[in-house]
C-alpha cells in the first residue's frame, strides 16, 4: 500500500461524499493529510514535518517499532477472542494490576474505552457532549458537579480549602438526589480534566468526594483514558496525584493503552466485579483482550519502562511548564499555566481580572502554529485553553520550538490588540489601546500558589458563578 493514492483534493472530495458530515477534520478550511509519523513527528504528503503536541493516543511515539513488531508478530500467530485461554491476556492483566493499588485487581478488556462520544448513556454523563445537542436535555439521573477549577471555578487559589468546598458541592448534589428519592450509583471524573480545560483538581478533593459518594452507597470511577500511563510524570496514574490514601473503585483506561491500536480496559475491585457478575449478565467483547491487543498493550508498557517515558514526562513536562510560565510573565493573554508532566494547559484571557476567555486568540494561535507546522489544540468550556498532551517522547527542544513560536504569535496578537502587561503599562507608549483596568495589578494567578484577592476579583468570581449556574 502506497502512502498516498489520491491527490489531496480528491481525498477531500471522496471524504465529503462517503464520510459522515458529523465527522470533522482538523483545520477544516485546509485540512492536513498525514501519510506517515514517527515519534512526536507527523509528515504530510509533501514530506513536511509537523511537531505533534496533541496526539496523546500515540503515547510512546507514533509507529514505535517495538509496538509495531509486537502487534505484527502476534497477528501472524493468532488473533481471537477471550473465550479461549491465552497468556497475553492474563500477563497483561497482571502487568496492569502491578501499576495499581492492590485492591484494583480485576480487569475487563474492551476495545473502545469509556469514550463519551458515542452512546446515549455515556453522552448523558458528559456535559462536554450533551451541550452540543441542539435539543440538549440533561438526563434526570445525571447531576453535574462543579469543575474543581482553581483558576476560573467557583472556588479558586485564594480559597482557604477548595478541595472541601468542591467536594461539598458533590455532597449537595447527593442530598438533592436523595430528597427526590433517588439513589446514587457513582461519581465519575477524569483524574485531570482534559477536554474540560486541562483542569487539575486540588489534592484531597477525590478523597472527600469518595467519602460522600461511598456514604451514599455509590462508587468512585476515575477516568484515566486521557491522563494515565505515566503522563503526569510523578505517578503512573493521575488519580495518584491526589495522595497515597486515595483508591477509586473503578478505573477506566483507553487511548494511550495501545498506542493507537483500538483497545481499552476497565479495572475494578473484586467486590464490584462480583456484584456485576450477580447481575446475571455475561460480559463478552468480540475484540477486547484479544492476543494482538494484549501483545501491543504489553509492548507499550515495556517501552514506557525501557525508555523511562514517565521520567521524560516529568522532566520535559516541567521544562515546558516553566517555559509557559515565562510566557505568562511576558504576555497578558496568558492567564494561567497549569500542568502535571506532559499534561499541560495554558489558559488565555483577554482580561486577567474578569478572566474574559480569549477564545478567538486561542484559535488564532492554533491556526498560526499549524501554518508553522506545529499541531496544538485549544479546549475547555470556552475553548481558550492551549492543550499540550504530546507523545511521551516529546523533548526539551520540541518544547523550546513550540513555545518560541507561541511567544512570537502572542507578541503579534497583543500588538494588534494593544494589550500590554500591567506592570509595564507605565513604561509603554500610551498611544496603544488597552482594555485592562488598573485594578488588575497584583492579580496574576499562578498555579498552586494561594494569594490574597481584592474586591474586583471577588466580584468577577461571583459573576462567573452566576453565569455558570
Amino acid at each position: 500500500m502506497t502512502a498516498e493514492m489520491f491527490p489531496k483534493e480528491k481525498t477531500i472530495d471522496l471524504r465529503k461524499k462517503h464520510i459522515g458530515p458529523s465527522c470533522k477534520v482538523f483545520f477544516s478550511h485546509d485540512p492536513i493529510k498525514i501519510v506517515r509519523a514517527k515519534g512526536q513527528y507527523m509528515y504530510d504528503e509533501n514530506g513536511v514535518r509537523y511537531l505533534d503536541c496533541i496526539n496523546n493516543v500515540a503515547h510512546v511515539g507514533h509507529s514505535h517499532p517495538m509496538v509495531v513488531k509486537a502487534g505484527a508478530e502476534q497477528m501472524e500467530l493468532l488473533n481471537t477472542n477471550s473465550r479461549f485461554l491465552h497468556d497475553n491476556l492474563v500477563q497483561y492483566a497482571q502487568r496492569l494490576q502491578a501499576t495499581l493499588p492492590e485492591k484494583l485487581s480485576v480487569c475487563y478488556f474492551v476495545n473502545s474505552g469509556a469514550y463519551h462520544g458515542h452512546v446515549s448513556s455515556l453522552i448523558n454523563i458528559s456535559p462536554y457532549k450533551f451541550h452540543q445537542l441542539a435539543n440538549a436535555e440533561q438526563s434526570k439521573s445525571v447531576h453535574v458537579a462543579l469543575s474543581p477549577d482553581l483558576y476560573r471555578g467557583n472556588y479558586r487559589q485564594d480559597h482557604p480549602d477548595p478541595a472541601t468546598a468542591y467536594a461539598d458541592d458533590v455532597n449537595n448534589l447527593i442530598q438533592k438526589a436523595h430528597e427526590k428519592g433517588h439513589k446514587v450509583a457513582a461519581f465519575i471524573a477524569e483524574s485531570l480534566q482534559s477536554c474540560g480545560g486541562q483542569v487539575i483538581p486540588p489534592a484531597g478533593y477525590f478523597q472527600k468526594v469518595a467519602q460522600h459518594v461511598h456514604r451514599a452507597g455509590g462508587l468512585f470511577i476515575a477516568d484515566e483514558v486521557q491522563v494515565g500511563f505515566g503522563r503526569v510524570g510523578t505517578h503512573f496514574w493521575a488519580f495518584q496525584l491526589q495522595g497515597e490514601d486515595f483508591v477509586p473503585d473503578i478505573v477506566t483506561m483507553g487511548k494511550p493503552i495501545g498506542n493507537g491500536h483500538p483497545m481499552s480496559c476497565v479495572v475494578t475491585t473484586r467486590e464490584v466485579a462480583e456484584a456485576f457478575k450477580n447481575s446475571g449478565m455475561e460480559y463478552f467483547n468480540t475484540f477486547g483482550g484479544n492476543p494482538v491487543s494484549c501483545a501491543i498493550g504489553l509492548a507499550v508498557l515495556d517501552v514506557i519502562e525501557k525508555e523511562d517515558l514517565q521520567g521524560n514526562a516529568l522532566r520535559v513536562g516541567g521544562y515546558l511548564t516553566r517555559l509557559l510560565e515565562q510566557q505568562k510573565e511576558k504576555h497578558p493573554l496568558v492567564g494561567d499555566v497549569r500542568g502535571r508532566g506532559l499534561f499541560v494547559g495554558a489558559e488565555l484571557v483577554r482580561d486577567r481580572v474578569k478572566l474574559t476567555p480569549a477564545t478567538a486568540e486561542a484559535q488564532d494561535i492554533i491556526y498560526k502554529l499549524k501554518e508553522q507546522h506545529i499541531l496544538l489544540s485549544a479546549d475547555g468550556p470556552h475553548r481558550n485553553v492551549l492543550k499540550f498532551k504530546p507523545p511521551m517522547c516529546f523533548s526539551e527542544e520540541d518544547a523550546d520550538m513550540v513555545v518560541e513560536k507561541i511567544d512570537q504569535i502572542l507578541t503579534d496578537i497583543e500588538k494588534a490588540l494593544g494589550l500590554q502587561m500591567p506592570s509595564t503599562v507605565h513604561t509603554e507608549n500610551g498611544s496603544r489601546k488597552r482594555n485592562v483596568q488598573p485594578e488588575e495589578n497584583g492579580c496574576h494567578h499562578s498555579n498552586g500558589i494561594s494569594h490574597s484577592h481584592d474586591t474586583s476579583q471577588q466580584h468577577a468570581s461571583q459573576q462567573n458563578k452566576r453565569l455558570r449556574s
Copy 2:
C-alpha cells in the same frame, strides 16, 4: 513473544484472579488454550489442531498473511485518527459503498460495531441480552417483534404468507406505540438472526416491515455484523436475500470486517447522515477509520475477491447444508436444517411434533465434538440450534469431517434415548423406548418447502404461541 508463557493451570489461575468473572470461557470445565491459528484451524498449546466452525470474525481465515501484511505495513507507517485526511479511509469507504445499493453512500467508521452486549441502550434493544439480567425489565421504548422463524415461530412453513403475517405483527407494535402517544424511531433486525437461532426470515418480510416503519416515520436498520461480507454466498449482504427491491436506511457491519482487528462501520443514506449532522453533535471516534484499520479492511475485501470466498461460501455452504439434510433424514433429533451459504443452523428437537428443544443433547454434541477437536456452538432461545459460521475458507472436507462426527454422536445419543426415525419405527426392535407419537408421521419440516399440516401440529403451534406471549 513466545506462544506460551505459563502452564495452562497457571493461565487459568491468573484469569480467575485478574479477569472479570462475568467474562466466560468456552468449555468452562476444561477450557481450550489456543496459541496459534491458520485458515479454519486453531492449535492448542500441545499442537493439537481444532477445526473451527464458529469464528466468523476470522472471516477470510485466521492469521491471513495478506491481512497481517497490510496491517503491519500500515502500522509501521502511520496509525492516527480520522481528523487528519488519509486515503485509506476514503478508499475503504468507496470500496464498501461499491458493494451496497447506491443510496447507502455515507460511512461512519467505528471500532466496536453494533454489538449489543455492552451498553444499556443496546442491551435494551436486544432480548438476547436483557433476558439475561436478573431483574430484566424491557425498556418502555423498545417493542420486541416476533422472530420470523418458519420452523418454531407463530407462522410457519405451512402458513400461506408468513412474510406478511410477521410484518403485520410489527405493524401491530407500531399501532400500539402510537396509541400510547409514542413515535417510532427505527426497526432493527439482523438480516439473518444468528444468536436468535440461525433464523432465515421469509423473503419479502423486510420490504413489508420497511413500509410499515417508514409510514410511521421510522428507519429500517439492517444489522449485518454477523452475516455480511459474502457469508450468505449468493449475495455480499444478507439483506439482499430479501430481494433487489429492498434497501435498508442504515446497515451496521462489524466482526468479519477486519478479520479480528477491532473495527466496524455504520453505513447510511445522505438523508439520514444530514439529519444526524443537524442534531448538532459532532461524531468523533478515537480509533474508528484509522489508517491501520482501513488498510486491514481493504485487505479483507481483497482476499474475499481474490480467493472467491463468497463463491466458496455458496459451494461449501450448500454442500454442508445437504450433508446436514441427510442427517435430518436419518436422525430424529434433527428437526430442521436451514442455511444460506456458510451461515447454517441445525435445530435439534426431542419431538418433531411438539418441537421440544433438545437443549441438553445440543450441548452434549458440542462437548463431544470439542473432545474430537471440532469447535461448534449451540444457540437460539433454547440453545438447541447447532450454529455453523466458520471462516469462509471452510472446505468440503471440513464439512465431511464435522458432519461425520455429528452423525456418530447423534447415533450414540439416539441409541441411549431410544429415539428412532418415525418412518423406520415399524421395522425396529420394539423393545426400545420412544417418546414420539404416531401422529408425527409426515410432519417432517423441511426448510423452504410448504406442506399441509395435521391437527396435532396446529395444536402444538398454538401452544407454542401462548408460551411465547
